[in-house]
Each structure stands twice: as structure tokens, then as C-alpha cells.
């Protein structure tokens, strides 16, 4: 397909751009296959605005007389307005944006065309994998093994080729277990707690169904996980009622009678549509300047977003408590095991494991727990809060993760090696990116379209020296301690840096952050000299 088919008007002169935090400016608008480019032609200034079309969530067009106005609402929550002379031109531009911003074919997306001078396609792709995690964790080698049962993605399409499983469980058993778990997502190790040898496993729900089917191999696998220890915990991210209901549709849970050494704990976490709607409501409330205090607080409450933040953090806290303080291994799952399970296992690792709190460590964690673990990014992040299209699989689980990590960072501003800027960058990149990292829904899909060969890796790019400096936390002081967040509502806050990103007030805060960085660097120099 040629992009030019969709571009009837490529250039328009004399367009007025209205953008938050900037005075309106007049210049030339240009549409390409992947970008909207605006260049300011006014004297004394040479502002250029380059916007990835993929970043556009929704547009509204209004025409009056011979000219038109297009309001562009971006997935990074920025709202822009273009005043375009000439009605036809305006409609053409609007049409191009509408079509090109939601192309379906992955291989036509911008990452496949992005070729920055300072990166090479031969560079290493990615930071971490189950293989490298296994080889680094020498402690694992006795009781755990690396299985390549999924090398051709046939056992579980959403898992990576290599997974870590108990040593005593062979590949045939794994295949049988996979048939008993939704989407083939059999229990695999995702975290080993060095201090006490306990582990976090994750999976999808067991397919017990209405007749309480059993699977000896599944029971065997879980038994092998706790081995000599007296018990383990299963954290089910659904309420027990939801888990019961799941049996009607073929799903289910691990019953006490079949898994006698496992204690099940239910914590209801919102997912899917409810989460997406929550985001939509919150963003709507943040965008409405006519709210009075009461209406704002009531909308904030009504959106439930902060409640979900609270639940996610406290469930992650529960998980970490089971492992770190209670000294037991834990299996986490909900239904599909691709959303809330990943959310809480990631947060729990940040709470417990200092290695995950460095910039590199955090990105590696995301790579293992989200990309390779098969969070369906393409489905979840197809649209954001402004889109009018009918919702399908969209759900801002990853955004919820970033929000929770931000809350952790607020409570332990010295313990995390990365800055708020990194979280904001990730929140943007996950919806629209120059890089291939967040494309597709699984490792298998990424392999099929050649993401690793034909696009650049965001995480590698973020670790280039200059970028790394910018995304590091200047106040970082590594600590071996677990960082237990407070989940009192009074201790949690709206993530203003993200939700109110385009307001002047947030700029003041950013300036202050910048100030911290400069001061610390200055003092660092002094200390060295």
C-alpha cells in the first residue's frame, strides 16, 4: 500500500497552530505517511512541531465559511488545534490523519522506517530474557531449569521460547499442564528471592470448568515449586465469586482439595474495559476546566483510577509480604494471566529487589515481565482516553503500572534509580513510538514480522549515555532494603506529571526537578574536586 493514496493534500500554508504552553503560531503544515509536521515561518522564530500520526487518538473537525479547524487529541493527552484555510484542504488533512493514524498493518508502522544516524540495526536488541536471567541467577541452578519446550511457540503462543520451571518437571509434563491452563500459560518462574530462596510464579487460570476437572501434572508442577516447604500461596487477582463464575466458562481456580499445600487468596483487581473507562473518565475530568472543587473531587472519585492504583499497590504489597516476610513461594494469576498478574508481580519485584530499581534493571524487568511475558501491547494500547471508536481490547494496564511506580518513587525518592521523566517517556512510547519495542502482542508476533531485525530497540536507545543521564534519578542511593509503600489514600496522589502534563503548573515542577539535577551535579563536582 502506498501512503500517498491517503494524502490528497500534503502541504498547507498559513495554518495556525494552537498548542498548550505556547502562543499560537502561523506556518506551514505538512502531512507525510507517518507524521504531521508544522513549521513556523514567522520571523525570528523557527519552531518545528513533529507529531507522530500514531500518537493521535481522535480528531474533531469544524468548518466555518471557507476555513476549518481541526482539534487533535493525542494519546499522550496533549490537545492541539489547527486552523486551516480552505475547507477542502481541511477535510483532506483530517481524512489523512484519520486513516494514517490507525493503520492496522504492523510492518507499515513508523518503527520500520525510523533510521536514526546514531543507531544501527545490528545493535543488540533488548536487555534481558529468561535465558540471561537464568544464567545470572546461579542460585536457581539446583532446583530449576531452563526449558525450551516452547521454542517454536507451539505450547504457549504468548510465552517466549525459553522459560524457567522446576527441575523435576519434564517437557512432556509441561505440555500437559499447558493444555490445562488458559492460552497454554502454564506456571513459570518470574522471580527468585535471593534472601530466602522463595519464588514468584505466574500463569493463567486452570481450566477446571464446571465439572472440576483435575490435572495431575499441574498439581505435580505446583508441588515441585514448594518442594520441601510446607505451603505456598496463590494470589488470584479476581474475587472468589468471579473465580467461581469463571468455571461456567471453562476456567476456574485451584481447589483446596486438589492443591492442599496451597492457600488461595483472592484480591479483586479491575481489568479490561473497566480500567479503560476509568482512564477515560479521569482524563475527561482533568480536561474540564469548568469543574468546581466538589465536582472535580466527585469525578476523581467516580473515575476510580486512584482506587485501582491503591488496589494494585496493596495487592503487590501482599504478594511481597508473602515472599519476603512470610517466607513462602507464590503463584499469581487472574484469568488470562497477561494483565493484572504482570502488574502485581512487577510491582512486588520493585518492592523487594534492589536490582530492579536501577534504570537498567527496571527496563530489563519490563522486558521480561511485560514484553516477553506476552502482555498484548498492540491490543491494549491501540487507543487511549480520547478515542471515539468502539473499544475492543484496549486497557491501560501498563499505564496503571507506571502510575503505581510513580507512587513508589514519590514515597521512596532515593530508592529508585530512574526519574519521573522515564515513566512519562514510557507512557508516551507505549502508545506511539519511533521504536519497535512495544509493537505486537507477543514475542511470537514480533518474530514473525521481524521487529528485532527491522526496528530499533527503545530500551537500548534509552541507555545511550546522554539519555541515560537524563532518565537517571540524581538522588539515587541504592538500598538493599525492601521498600514498602504506604497505601493509605492520604499517601497516594493523582499523578499530576502525567494527567496534567500540559499545564503551566507542571512546568514549574519540572523546572524544579531540573534544578535538583543541576544542583546535585554541581555538588558532585565539588565533592570530586
Amino acid at each position: 500500500m502506498e501512503f500517498s493514496e491517503h494524502i490528497k493534500t500534503a502541504n498547507v500554508e498559513d495554518v495556525v497552530l494552537r498548542q498548550p504552553l505556547h502562543p499560537p503560531s502561523r506556518g506551514t503544515l505538512c502531512i507525510t505517511g507517518h507524521h504531521l509536521l508544522f513549521s513556523d515561518r514567522e520571523e525570528g522564530s523557527s519552531r518545528q512541531v513533529l507529531l507522530l500520526l500514531r500518537n493521535i487518538d481522535a480528531i474533531e473537525k469544524r468548518t466555518s465559511g471557507s476555513s476549518g479547524t481541526i482539534t487533535i487529541k493525542c494519546k499522550d493527552l496533549q490537545v492541539l488545534q489547527l486552523d486551516i484555510p480552505g475547507m477542502e484542504q481541511c477535510l483532506n488533512i483530517a481524512h489523512s490523519i484519520e486513516t494514517l493514524s490507525c493503520l492496522d498493518s504492523v510492518s507499515e508502522m513508523y518503527p520500520f522506517f525510523y533510521r536514526p544516524a546514531d543507531l544501527s540495526l545490528q545493535d543488540q536488541w533488548g536487555l534481558s530474557s529468561p535465558e540471561s536471567y537464568y544464567s545470572q541467577m546461579k542460585e536457581l541452578h539446583g532446583r530449576w531449569r531452563l526449558s525450551s519446550v516452547n521454542r517454536d511457540y507451539s505450547v504457549c503462543p504468548s510465552y517466549p521460547p525459553a522459560v524457567i520451571v522446576p527441575n523435576s518437571i519434564d517437557d512432556d509434563t509441561l505440555r500437559k499442564v499447558a493444555k490445562f491452563r488458559q492460552g497454554g500459560r502454564f506456571p513459570v518462574l518470574c522471580y527468585y528471592h535471593r534472601k530466602n530462596g522463595m519464588v514468584i510464579m505466574r500463569s493463567s487460570q486452570p481450566l477446571t470448568g464446571a465439572n472440576r476437572k483435575r490435572c495431575k501434572e499441574d498439581e505435580l508442577l505446583l508441588q515441585a515449586v514448594i518442594d520441601g516447604s510446607d505451603k505456598g500461596y496463590i494470589i488470584d487477582t479476581r474475587s472468589s465469586q468471579q473465580a467461581q463464575q469463571a468455571r461456567m466458562t471453562g476456567g476456574g481456580f485451584e481447589s483446596k482439595s486438589c492443591y492442599s499445600h496451597w492457600k488461595r487468596l483472592h484480591r479483586q483487581m479491575e481489568r479490561g474495559k473497566a480500567l479503560q473507562e476509568s482512564l477515560i473518565k479521569l482524563v475527561e475530568a482533568c480536561g474540564d476546566e469548568s469543574n468546581n472543587m466538589d465536582r472535580w473531587l466527585s469525578k476523581l472519585e467516580n473515575s476510580k483510577w486512584l482506587s485501582y492504583v491503591q488496589t494494585a499497590l496493596s495487592t503487590a504489597g501482599l504478594l511481597a509480604e508473602c515472599v519476603e516476610r512470610d517466607g513462602h513461594s507464590v503463584l499469581v494469576h487472574g484469568s488470562e494471566g497477561t494483565d493484572s498478574s504482570l502488574l502485581i508481580s512487577t510491582l512486588a519485584q520493585l518492592i523487594m529487589d534492589p536490582c530492579c530499581r536501577t534504570l537498567d534493571g527496571f527496563l530489563a524487568l519490563l522486558e521480561r515481565e511485560w514484553l516477553q511475558a506476552g502482555h498484548p501491547f498492540q491490543q491494549r494500547c491501540a487507543h487511549s482516553a480520547y478515542s471515539h471508536t468502539r473499544l475492543q481490547q484496549e486497557s491501560p494496564v501498563f499505564l496503571l503500572l507506571l502510575d503505581c511506580v510513580w507512587q513508589l518513587w514519590r514515597q521512596f525518592p532515593l530508592a529508585l534509580g530512574f526519574s519521573e521523566a522515564l515513566l512519562l517517556r514510557l507512557a508516551t512510547e507505549v502508545y506511539a513510538s519511533d521504536y519497535g519495542t512495544f509493537l505486537c502482542n507477543s514475542d511470537q508476533e514480533r518474530c514473525a514480522v521481524g521487529v528485532k531485525d527491522k526496528t530499533h530497540c527503545l530500551f537500548q536507545a534509552l541507555l545511550r549515555p546522554r539519555e541515560k543521564d537524563y532518565y537517571s534519578n540524581p538522588l539515587y542511593e541504592p538500598t538493599e532494603l525492601a521498600i514498602w509503600p504506604s497505601v493509605h489514600p492520604q499517601s497516594l496522589q493523582l499523578w499530576r506529571g502525567f494527567f496534567l502534563r500540559w499545564t503551566q503548573q507542571i512546568r514549574h515542577l519540572e523546572e524544579a526537578q531540573e534544578e535538583i539535577r543541576n544542583m546535585v551535579i554541581e555538588w558532585g563536582k565539588l565533592a570530586l574536586s
Binding site: K263, E301, E321, C322, H488, A512, A527
Partner: protein, 599 residues
Amino acid sequence: MCLQVEQVRLLDRFSSKSTNGTLYLTATHLIFLQKETFILHHHIASVEKLSLTTTGCPLVIQCRNFRMVQFVVQRERDCHDIYSSLLRLLRPGGYEDLYAFSYNPKQNDQQREEGWQLIDLGAEFERMGVPCDQWQLTDVNRDYKVCETYPRDLYVPITASKPIIVGSSKFRSKGRFPVLTYFYQEKKAAVCRCSQPLSGFSARCLEDESLLQAISKANHNSRFVYVMDTRPKLNALANRAAGKGYENEDNYSNIRFQFVGIENIHVMRASLQKLLEVIGSRPLSMSDYLVGLESSGWLRHIKAVVDAAIFLTKAVTVEGVSVLVHCSDGWDRTAQVCSLGSLLMDPYYRTIKGFMVLIEKDWISFGHKFADRCDQLDGDPKEVSPIFTQFLECVWQLTEQFPQAFEFSEWFLLQIHEHVHSCQYGNFLGNNQRQREELQLRERTHSLWAFLMSEKQNYLNPFYSPAYSEAHPVLEPSTLPYHFKFWRNMYHQFDRSMHPRQSILKTILTLRENSRKAESTLQALETVKVQRHEEDDEQEEVGEEAMESTDTERTVEGSSGTDSRKQSYGELEGTYNSDVAKEEPAVVSLEFGVARMTC
């Protein structure tokens, strides 16, 4: 007198944790040892004895600095003893019983006197450029004859004669006639304050009208003055029935009248009460919290005050119009709006010293009734209201929006709040200047400002940038509701489990201090080097000595004013291992919800 009770348990209100210790009552403090808890009697707002339980007799103590503690005393008789002693101690017979009169920080009379001289309001008006060709100092209130709740020194338009002033004062509630409180030199626009006129339905007063006329004439930039009635219109209307009310635009030439709708002291008291009920009792769900925050209306009131201050600021700095601000008596809402407006207009008030001056001027000298509002003498509960707390919170909200604009940090505000209620210093005792003079506070008590100044290092905001203030002399805050936050560090000051375990502020201050030391060491080394050139011997030792001086690291505490506060901020030390491993799985009792770090 001293009472001592052993085996008392202190409960944490947000978790199931408790600490055992001994409780002491001294003449000034309630002390609980084990946790180093010191509570000044003046801070205690209420004591409640709950009914006996199997573990003992619970005693709930609410403090004005929002600390809430619950003790369980094993024997009911002991509990009753503590209870009745506290009740006695909480009712000071008179001002003389307040802590300030016995507090002795080991200073001699000269030091005490110097402390009181730190803030000089005459000099402050000079700084603003007053007296000048339009404004003068009047001695009409030298003996508190015209208005006993005003200070002696007042500034009025040159053209306002004594008969006009006296006439106007008779037409204003409590005699509080219009006087200058802030002068915006750049536009020659004035901020004046007064109480409501006794206009009833139709009364007028020619002197009052001429005084307003004089205020208007004193500003050549504008042909009119704004009269800002900070009350909701309905309240002002209701006051007319009692012979009070507001200015009738028809009677006053050249005024523009405006209501801004800040609620009265009773609404504010009830609102804070509601807020504390919501947040105070138990762990909350997010929904309960947000719904409670909304229904308390607290942030709505905070926003209303900031909105009013912005209106004032815009009128003065943008339009260049003088503004007369009043409410009913002109000592609550008027104080809030005038002081907050001045803070927005003038960077000086955003410094540590300037903020003291501002409080001294608009609150203390103009007669905000601290004794009544803060219940210093166990007076009429209907007079108690968190008006000053609200002002401090408004300032805090601004510091959150403009992190670089203020010389002081949050701890400064908290410390002032602490001492407004502690009655440890003389500054806030009594209701007005006249009363303070009668009490001879300058001779018999110490000044808080001197103490705070001596601890200035602790209250500095490391992000403060004088350059920023130069570029933005007038602050333009946004009052969109989402820019207002719940002030956890005020209302949960003592609930350490809720606070971040690490503080950026403290870290930055420590880093800065260290770098300063490194810098001076560097300089010392430089000097040494120079010396080295001159006398080639013994360089080594000198160098080492200089290095050693950096080892004594100053620990920066958020606030170190009162011992009771020290422990409440999230320092890392002391939190490790503080939780004893439980036999029951953590899962069941899940005391999650508590920020902490463990090994």
C-alpha cells in the same frame, strides 16, 4: 505536680500496632516514654475517656496540631487520675498560666529584647514606600481610643482628617475604619482593610464616604476603588437586619462593589471538623476518602480564599486600582485575603523574614483574635475557628505550585502552626495589641520570630531562586480544582506510617550542607597551598586537619522546634526491624498500608 503511670499502651490509629511505656504528667507536658512522645498541654484540644475494655481503660487525646493519640491504661483508677488531672491542666485560669510565662530558653533580658525587635512594622511600611505624598501615619489611635483592636500606628490618606476618621470609625463594626495595609508602589495602588459598615437598610455616613473618597483620590491611576466584601452575599444581606451590612454603591462615589463568597468562621470550623472525622478514625478506602474530602468542603474553602486573593492581586497589579477589603469584623477573612494577596504581589513576603513580617502585620497587629480562634483560654467554643490554619494551607498550596518562589519550606509553615497553638512564645497570645501590651508580653515572654530565625537553616527551601522571583514578582496561581491537594503533612503530621520514608527536601539540604563544607574545605586547602608555597614544612598535617573538619556532618531535621515533632518525619533510621516477625502469616492481618523499609 507530676503524675506517673506505668504499663500504659499507646495505640497506632492506622495499624494494629501498639507500644508499652510509662506515662508522665508534668506541669506543662504529657510525656510517654518508650516512644519519646511529648505533648504540650496547650496542644491538647480534647480528652475523652472511653468505656473500660478487657485490656484496660482507653483514653483518647486530640491535639490542635492534629496529633491524635490513644492510650490504654491498665487500671481504671489510674486512667481516671490522668483524665481528671488533664482536665484541670487544660483549663488555664488566665493568660498568666500559659506556658509562655514560664518558658525560659536561657536568654538574658537583652537577648529577649533583641528578639522582640526583630520585626519592625514601621520599617516595613517604609519599605513599601509609606509615608509618602499620599499616605501618612496617623496618631489618632495612639491610645487605642478610636479602635481598641487596631494597632497604635495606622496609615491613612493624607487628605483624611481626624474628624473624618473618627466619624468613619463610628460607622464601622468595632470601630475598625479603613486603613492601609499594603502599598503597591509600582502603581501607587493601596490595599486597605476595615470592618463592615453599620449601614443597615439605609443608614449612611458622610465621613465614611469621604474616607473612601480619600482612598480613591490617593491613587491617580484609577478613578475608582474596589470594595471587596469577602462574605457570601447572603450573609451580608442578613447582616443588614442587624444594622450592619455593606456599602451602597449609590452613596459612595467611585466605588465598585464586589462579593467574593468566603464562608464564615462557623462554616470553616465545621468543615475542618468534618475533614478530621473522615481522615482521623480508621484506615480508609480511596472512595471513602475522596467522598469525605469532597463533603467536608475544606478544599473548596481553601480555593475560595485563594480566588479572593487573586482577585485582589489582579485589581492592584494589573488594573492599578486600590482595593478596600472587609468582611464582618475585618479580622478573619479580611486578614486571610489581604495577607495572601500581598504574598502574591510582593516577593519579599515569600522570604522567611518577610513572611514573619506579613503575619505580624496582617494577623497579629491588626487584631486577628488568636486567643479566641485558637482557644488559648478555654473560652467560647463558638469563637474557635481554623482561620489561620487555613491561611497557612493556602500558602502551602502556593508553594506546591511555585516550588522556586518561596525561601521557606513546608516545615516553616508547620512550625509556625505548632507555635500558634503551643502558647510557648508571646507573639500570638491575646486577641489584639492592646491586650498584649497590658500583659507585658515583651517583658515577660520570648518572641517566636527570634527562635525561628535562629533555626533558619532548617526551614530553607533548597529550590528557592531569587532570580525566579525577580522574573515573576507577581505570582499567578491557577485555582483549577485539580491543583489543590490534601495537605497530608499538616493533618497527618504525626502519623508517620503515612509519610514518604525518604525526603527529597532533607536529602537536598544535607547534600547542600556537605557541599558547602567541601567548598570551605577546598578554600581552606587553597589557603594551605598558598601557605605551602611560603613555608614548605608541615603541609601534610595542616591539610589533613582541614579535611577532618568535614566529618562532623550536621543532621538536618525537618523541624527541631519541639521534641515532640522530631520523630514524626520519615527518617530511615529506626524503622528497620521495628516490626517483630509475626507468627501468623502476614497475609491475614496484612498490615500493609504502612510505608516502611525493611531488611
